[in-house]
């Protein structure tokens, strides 16, 4: 069932990524980690649909946010990041997905590992944890090209500065902030071992990013004796146009 959503706010996260806040009067509500289908239709009836992860925490107000990374050869993402204006209507279907989700009833330690725009569904989990309260301790390992490619930078900084249930580790692959202790480079086994929950605490791990990133990280986690059924993954390929 397609629903009509109205764009009520726009916020640029980076030079290439934009958050769209949508209001859907009959929105059924979502769980952190789920995604939504967005349909664009041209004047001659041609339409294109892509899936985007929801970035915001569950609420009962019929509002949610998606963050869209503009892909160079994308069909839908350039429109959503450059053309859409406040007040525009979009067709939406969802929420979708019942596996890559975090629910406030979960009490085990939570390990989140994001590659690039793979942060989006994990941010929904963090926001869900903060708004729901509870006892689950979160760790986020966030791999990003360079500091200016970070999404939700100020919010994450605030969350990790305070007495927070979130412990945050950044890993930069191309360029780091000044005096950063770790030289730029991809996430490796040593970093995973140092920055993630020990597997004997039984964390549930959520890994989201490009396919090669997820393949590598999930392999490291399994190598550290995390049980494969506690490693949940979401991948997007070069043409996945997801998130």
């Amino acid at each position: 069932m397609w629903r009509v959503g109205t764009v009520v706010a726009l916020n640029d996260e980076t030079e290439t990524a934009r958050t769209l806040k949508l209001e859907v009067l009959d929105w059924p509500g979502h769980v952190a980690g789920q995604h939504v289908d967005v349909r664009l239709t041209a004047s001659d009836g041609y339409s294109a649909v892509r899936s985007y992860s929801i970035a915001s925490e569950p609420n009962s107000k019929g509002r949610f946010e998606i963050t869209v990374e503009r892909l160079a050869n994308g069909e839908v993402s350039p429109y959503l990041t450059q053309n859409v204006a406040i007040g525009d209507q979009l067709e939406l279907r969802g929420p979708i997905g019942g596996w890559f989700v975090w629910r406030p009833q979960q009490t085990e330690p939570i390990q989140l590992i994001a590659g690039g725009s793979g942060i989006v569904p994990l941010m929904a989990m963090i926001r869900s944890r903060i708004s729901a309260g509870g006892t689950a301790s979160f760790r986020l390992l966030y791999s990003v090209r360079e500091p200016r490619a970070l999404f939700y930078r100020d919010e994450l900084q605030t969350l990790s500065n305070h007495d927070s249930p979130l412990k945050l580790t950044y890993a930069y692959t191309r360029a780091t902030p000044k005096d950063w202790p770790r030289p730029p480079g991809r996430i490796d086994a040593a970093l995973i071992a140092n920055a993630t929950w020990p597997s004997n605490l039984g964390p549930t791990c959520y890994v989201c990013g490009p396919t090669s990133f997820v393949e590598t990280v999930a392999g490291f986690l399994a190598g550290l004796r995390n049980s494969p059924d506690k490693i949940r993954t979401e991948r997007f390929g070069p043409t996945g146009d997801r998130k």
Binding site: A42, Y46, S51, T211, E215, R232, G237
Partner: protein
């Protein structure tokens, strides 16, 4: 009636007309999996066909590869909306796997290394509609795409084509598999756009 997106023209190609509704064409091969990729050494690989507690047939890699195989071309349609046309595979037909098995079952639950399952009517595995595939594009199937061997049922959305397959359970009653329990359609016909449950 769809809402028109002001200023959106889209990027269409002639090939789009051959695609199921809501799909777009890709030429690479995206990966979607719910968890880590299992690594299954060939000397440990096995495939069992059972009817609940009763094992009907069992193959190891060698006896499986001794079965007659065939090459085929298939159009793939993923529920995440990409389609890839004319992919080339080699595999053993399920008609061969199930050939001389006598069963009253109407349903199948396909099982994989790593715990993944997917269900489908048994008739969808028969009559040259399904294969256990072990080569893609002339090469041994890579683990991230389901190697050593995966089910290939191209007439259904690709989540039905279970990767890292290690067995099939024949059943009298239908039983939802992994994604079928988590919001996806029980049958998954791309031409009828059966993506999610309730459609």
């Amino acid at each position: 009636m769809a809402i028109t997106s002001r200023g959106f023209s889209g990027r269409r190609t002639a090939a789009d007309v051959k695609l199921p509704p809501g799909q777009y064409l890709t030429t690479d091969f995206p990966v979607l999996s719910a968890g880590p990729t299992p690594r299954v050494p060939l000397e440990q690989w096995e495939f069992t066909l059972d009817e609940g507690s009763e094992v009907l047939r069992r193959w190891n890699w060698k006896s499986f590869r001794d079965l007659p195989s065939e090459t085929l071309a298939a159009d793939l349609h993923c529920v995440t909306r990409w389609s890839k046309l004319g992919t080339s595979w080699e595999g053993v037909s399920l008609d061969t796997i199930l050939g001389d098995v006598k069963t009253d079952a109407s349903y199948a639950l396909v099982r994989s290394y790593g715990g993944y399952t997917t269900n489908l009517p048994l008739k969808d595995l028969l009559n040259k509609q399904a294969w256990i595939a072990f080569r893609f594009d002339g090469r041994d199937l890579e683990p991230e795409h389901g190697g050593p061997a995966r089910l290939l049922v191209p007439h259904l959305y690709l989540w039905k084509s279970a990767k890292w397959v290690n067995g099939i359970t024949l059943m009298n009653h239908d039983k939802p598999g992994f994604w079928e329990s988590l919001g996806y359609h029980n049958y998954g016909d791309p031409w009828r756009e059966q993506r999610y449950s309730g459609e």
